[in-house]
Amino acid sequence: MEKIPYQSPCAACYHVPVSRRRTVRGSIFLSVSILLVCVLIAFSLVVYDYVSGVARERFADTLTSLSRSLVTNLDAQVAEMNRLSLTLIYSQVFQGLYARHLALPRAPVSAEQRISKLENTEALIEICETILGPNRSAPQVNVFDLKGEMIGAGYYSRLIERNVTGEPWYPAVMRAAGERVIRPPHMDPLLEETSVIVKDKRYVSLLRTFQDALLSTQGIVEVKQYCDTLFSELDLMSGSSASIFVFDGRGNQLYPYDGPHADGRALLGLAHQAARRPIVTGLLPGTREPRIFAVATSRDTDWTLLIGEPSAGLAASVLQYALRIALLTLGAIVCSLAASYFIARRVTVPIKSLHAEIEALELGNLDKAAEGARKPDLGEIDELRLAFHGMRMKLNESIREAVALRAHEKEAQLVALQSQLNPHFLHNMLQTIGIMAEEGSPAAIQDLILNLVRVLRYASSTEGTTATLGTEVEYAESYLAAMRARFGGSLEYVIDIPGAMREIVVPRLILQPFIENCFKYGTSARPPWRIELRGGCADGQWLIEILDNGPGFDPGTLARISEKLAVRERAGSGLSPLSISGMGILNSYQRLRLAFGQGAVLEVANRPEGGARIAMGAGFNG
């Protein structure tokens, strides 16, 4: 048993989506191309059909009208011969002369008789020649009597013995009883002998009987015409590719008169078909080349003219059209492919560049503006790009905000820890505890240690990033109480925060920098130092004031703070170096901004009565 190489189904599964994956550009190109090519091909087929129909029709028209004109020409020729014969037999002179001819004995006995017969014959020949005219519209006219004599005029002008009853056409002519009978092309031995000019010629004769007044048949008149002359128009066509056949009513081939005799029955079959349809396609007997035939039948002569053009001619002209159309179609397809390529490109290039932008997106370059001068794309893609840009900016903004929030929280904690775990603070506190121990005041020590523990625990806690204002104030109170244990009567503080405000949720450790600030700058003046923490609400806003009675901010510091605040105001909630000479004021403000948005307020000023005033607040809804 032959082993079939095993193909992992998983591998197949894996490959399918990959091979199926199509780019937008590819599918746009493909679908537009297919659509265009289909439309173009359908269009060209319709055009081809129409054009070839038209060509075919025109071809048939040409062929038909040609055959008609040829037949008309033949009719005219035959009519001319007919006219000659009729002119002769209805001529009085001829009738008189002919009656005399019949009256004269066939073999004259007397000299007088011989002379008169000779004269009469001469006169008959003359009248015949007169009727033929100077142009010799027919080369020969023969008059047969039924007694065995024939008078010829034209090239052969004399009287000879000729028993007309022996002629093959005699019965037919007699049956026709005065009507014309056309004798198909034939050679004439008499004329052959007479002149080299008419050697090897073929003739068509028009024969008819004529009667006397008593309607008894007197004789037969024959008008001969050269086949060359009769069919001269047809001969003119012999140079072309057309093949022409003429048959009489009995199926005799009249033309070509000296060519091969075609299979008349087959051709007549074609002719019968052609009688019902304008043109017919068929094979010439003995050939393989298909031809298109047109047929015209003369009513006068009962002749049928069959003209056949090789259908290759039609095919060639149609082919020429088809070639032109094909070329046109090909050109159009190429153009449309190019167009669809450019359409696909136009659509996909911006998509690609968008893709590249998305690919290149990193945390670091979120805020990088998209490459500036980009030529305007398609509307939708522009919108997409704008939307993407907006999203990018928003993302950047929110990441920055989140990072800033985290950083500020961390920093606030760091600032608080730094100030509370800094050796100076701790050393002073421990020193104070030591002194208290020596003084023997354990209650004060307990209080101080409790306050210190609260302060340190709050500052070092990592639980949550927000707190109620109440908690913050308690923390500040513990801190102030601890400080008071150190400074004693030199330090006074007032805390006045309405109970309603204590529930407001604020960023944790937001008050710390302000209290810290009081000690840093406020205590450089002579004691007593007074620190006030006051809160109030108005117009949907809450506000906390931190006041001290120290020397206030020096003008330089105040200006620097205002400047930084203004910068921050413009820059929004960015992350930037925070501390002004170690102050955490800006940090608090930024966190306030991040938490409360535009409603956040920070005022830093000196009080008119001396000391610094820092106020911060925000809207209640924040």
């Binding site: 050796p423 050393h427 104070t432 030591g434 002194i435 003084e439 004693g488 030199s490 002579r526 004691p527």
Partner: protein
């Protein structure tokens, strides 16, 4: 020089610590006596000029004038003053500046009492070895008529100019001598320092104003006797007389 106790001044802004330092120092070395305590640098300058102590114990971080600025201010006029810095800061920069200013020792908070005892002992030994050396240097061991005359004229000058803001440097230069010399000469001749006399003059004048013009505000009284800071004046007044200026005024008017 066993005839007089060695004196020291404490400068420290934390009340509890200030008292502790004064108490502990006196306790650790019975030969040391606290001449006064100051809550800030400026008070300390005044105390030093007033009592010419042998030792200054000072904190670094203080309102108005910090410890190092204080040392800088008084160093020229008191080359023989021993200085001990007590600080919570152990930064090198502070230590460097302290050494530059000729500080004798530097002790960190919280205070190790044994260490403080050692340092005080070392300082006292040094003090006893050098006591009177400055007097000898300025030739003050023998006072002549000329020196007495100079001290007297300074005394008169102070009596006439107590209202004006006082500076030892300015006083010395207006008499054409070094502050350290003037300070010691004055004390040698009168037994007091110019600052002591000045404060006494000012307080006396203030008392008279308070009694004689009860409608005058304390602030105006302070300004009239040469103190721009009425709070400081009040504290000083209380220290000198045992009464707040307002309390003094009330008690006097009731009489």
């Amino acid at each position: 020089m066993a005839e007089r106790k060695l004196t020291f001044v404490v400068a420290e802004d934390e009340e509890r610590m200030r008292d502790y330092l004064a108490r502990k120092t006196a306790e650790l070395d019975r030969n040391l006596e606290c001449a006064g305590t100051a809550a800030d640098g400026e008070e300390a300058v005044e105390l030093v000029e007033r009592y010419l102590p042998d030792l200054l114990i000072t904190d670094i971080k203080m309102p108005v004038l910090d410890g190092l600025e204080l040392v800088e201010r008084i160093r020229r006029a008191n080359p023989d003053l021993r200085i001990l810095i007590v600080s919570g800061y152990s930064e090198f920069e502070y230590a460097r500046r302290a050494i530059e200013l000729g500080v004798d020792d530097y002790i960190l908070k919280p205070i190790d009492v044994e260490k403080l005892r050692e340092i005080l002992l070392r300082i006292r030994i040094r003090l006893e070895a050098t006591v009177g050396a400055v007097d000898a240097e300025f030739g003050l061991d023998r006072i002549g008529a000329r020196e007495t005359e100079l001290a007297k004229s300074v005394e008169v000058y102070l009596q006439e100019n107590y209202r004006r803001s006082y500076s030892l440097e300015r006083l010395a230069s207006s008499f054409g001598c070094k502050p350290a010399y003037l300070l010691r000469l004055y004390r040698k001749v009168t037994g007091r320092t110019p600052t002591q006399d000045l404060i006494r003059l000012r307080i006396e004048k203030a008392k008279r104003l308070l009694v004689g013009h009860p409608h005058i505000e304390i602030k105006q009284v302070a300004a009239a006797v040469g103190y721009e800071d009425p709070l400081y004046f009040s504290r000083l007044f209380k220290k000198e007389t045992g009464f707040n200026p307002s309390a003094f005024k009330d008690s006097m008017s009731r009489l």
